[in-house]
Amino acid sequence: MLLIRRFEEKSAELYQEEKIRGFLHLYIGQEAVAVGTLDVLEPDDAVVATYREHGHALARGIGAGPIMAEMFGKVEGTSRGRGGSMHIFDAATRFYGGNAIVGGGLPLAVGLALADHLRGLQRVTVCFFGEGAVAEGEFHESLNLASLWKLPVLFCCENNLYAMGTALERSESELDVAVKAASYEMPAWPVDGMDVLAVRDAARRAVDAVRGGGGPYLLELRTYRFRAHSMFDPELYRPKEEVEAWKKQDPIDGFVGKLQEADLLSDDELEALKADAEADVDEAVAFAEAGTLEPVSDLTRFVYSEDPAEEGS
């Protein structure tokens, strides 16, 4: 969580310096969701994420350097600079983006799970999406199909209360995401997304059930984004007091507090962890700075596969 926090703070600085361009969606405040969930996955499970996915990518073990290089548009980036902040991909960890069409990742996750189901593999696909996605038809279609076919998907709805600037109560007739999932005969429950241990506990139970052939599960992870939606957002839609109140539930402070109460983390150890995160981010920035730009002559590569014998993963 410290690494994600520092990575995102640094990304905001680099955006101001115009090293990072395009859209940049920061994960600050939501770290416990990605960390708690992805901690329980096996290496060959699959992850489908959204355009606010730096945290998920880091928690999945993708190097901070290649992620930063991607945002710098460098060929050493996770997607050779063709994706940017919103489209981090990594075949080695089965990380299928970085999807920036809200709701678009859900059918994809259903399909990945269908392949595992048909192949008899005991793998799980975890699909992250925001609460804004529940307004999309693909949310309902995907929950229905995954449940109908008993597919091994864990749907993780990160409810940070705002779809860009539209509050949930301004867009939904039924505010309880778990209730929606229940109508598709899917076990679903809300989780305190600011508490990394609660997230991990819920994810553990859900992933075990999904892997055991119990069909899809849904977790509604109640969280809050401390920063603006993107770097262009003046935040006119939510009161400052609300943001400040949520910051008191900072997932990092909360977890550190618990560890210190239990005498499991000294101040020195905490400072050392922060210094490690700082060093990792500095190293990532140096890696990105030192990266190279893909030659323009390669512009039209990867529109079609280059090796006809290439197979799907």
Partner: protein, 341 residues
């Protein structure tokens, strides 16, 4: 030398089959040859397919491989894309091209995009089949020809089997392709018949084909338009005009070489396109001829396209909205500066 080498009696026969049977046989072969292949779509199983293409396959291959889906085009197409990336080789059937618009997000934003957006990491070997075209009085939400429109999208291949041979042979090649392939089957063709050797096998997806050689002008057609072009060529023969007919076969990528070689020789071209004229695949072909063969041409390129209306129900109006052999004939005569009939 004949295909059998001329040694003794041939072991292959050439039965007459329908286009529908050819597609079904292609699906059956794929399911038999590769256990990763499965068919998924609305009513492909118990109902037997909206156009009866998959009739009998459920009994033969079972529910795991012949999968009826809910009416959720975006999600079952997206699931096909995901399953393809997950190591399977799905054939996704969309009932008709108009319904594919509900899945356009997945086709364009995911299938066509992932390989590039992931820097070459994730190819999408999905095959999506759908019925297309008018002529059955199904009106404005079941009758359009949007294959040319799909051909606008880089990252996918768009094929339009117009012959029994291609209906039989393109599917396997599409399944072996590492990238998304969209197969458009003109619904009027399903009942058409033709000879198909029992040992007919896979054919290349790409490459236009000269279906009728000729010297005076070139008729370029695809899908349901091919038969009309061939009919027009017969009518032109009666007028003393020797027309070459080319089946485009694949709308993305287009086979510029075959097109340019033919029009460079005949110096006249008529493009037959069931789609709407503005921004159509025929416009693209005409532009390419203009760009690459301008000085070879003896007449402006002519186009015979679908009328720019949502497809009407009434039979006479629908026929008026679709290209006809007579219109192709007249367009051909215009390129020869001869008065129409």
């Amino acid at each position: 030398m004949s295909a059998t080498g001329g040694n003794g009696p041939t072991t292959t026969s050439t039965p007459t089959v329908t286009y529908r049977e050819a597609v079904r046989e292609a699906i059956r072969e794929a399911l038999t040859r590769d256990e990763r292949v499965f068919l998924m779509g609305e009513d492909v199983g118990r109902y037997g397919g909206c156009y009866a293409v998959s009739k009998g396959l459920l009994d033969e291959f079972g529910e795991a491989r012949i999968r009826d889906t809910p009416l959720s085009e975006s999600t079952f197409v997206g699931a096909g894309i995901g399953a393809a990336m997950g190591g399977m080789r799905p054939i996704v059937e969309i009932m008709t091209v108009n319904f594919s618009l509900l899945a356009l997000d997945q086709i364009l934003n995911t299938a066509a995009t992932f390989l590039h957006m992931s820097g070459g990491q994730f190819n999408v070997p999905v095959v999506i089949r759908m019925a297309t075209g008018g002529g059955r009085q199904l009106a404005a939400q079941h009758s359009h020809s949007l294959e040319g429109w799909y051909a606008h999208i880089p990252g996918i291949k768009v094929v339009t089997p117009a012959t029994i041979r291609d209906a039989r042979g393109m599917l396997w090649t599409a399944l072996e392709d590492p990238d998304p392939v969209l197969i458009f089957e003109n619904a009027l063709l399903y009942d058409t018949e033709g000879p198909l050797p029992q040992d007919a096998g896979p054919v290349p997806l790409e490459g236009a084909e000269v279906m009728r050689p000729g010297d005076n002008l070139t008729l370029l057609a695809y899908g349901g338009g091919l038969r009309k072009a061939l009919e027009a060529a017969t009518l032109l023969e009666g007028e003393g005009v020797d027309a070459e007919v080319i089946d485009l076969r694949c709308l993305r990528p287009l086979d510029d070489d075959t097109i340019l070689k033919s029009v460079g020789r005949t110096r006249r071209a008529v493009i037959v396109d069931d789609g709407w004229r503005s921004g159509s695949i025929s416009a693209e072909i005409a532009a390419r001829i203009g760009e690459q063969a301008f000085w070879e041409m003896d007449a402006p390129v002519e186009r015979v396209c679908g009328a720019e209306v949502p497809m009407p129900y009434a039979g006479h109006l629908e026929q008026a909205a679709l290209p006809s052999p007579t219109e192709i004939l007249e367009a051909a005569l215009r390129t020869l500066a001869r008065p129409g009939r």
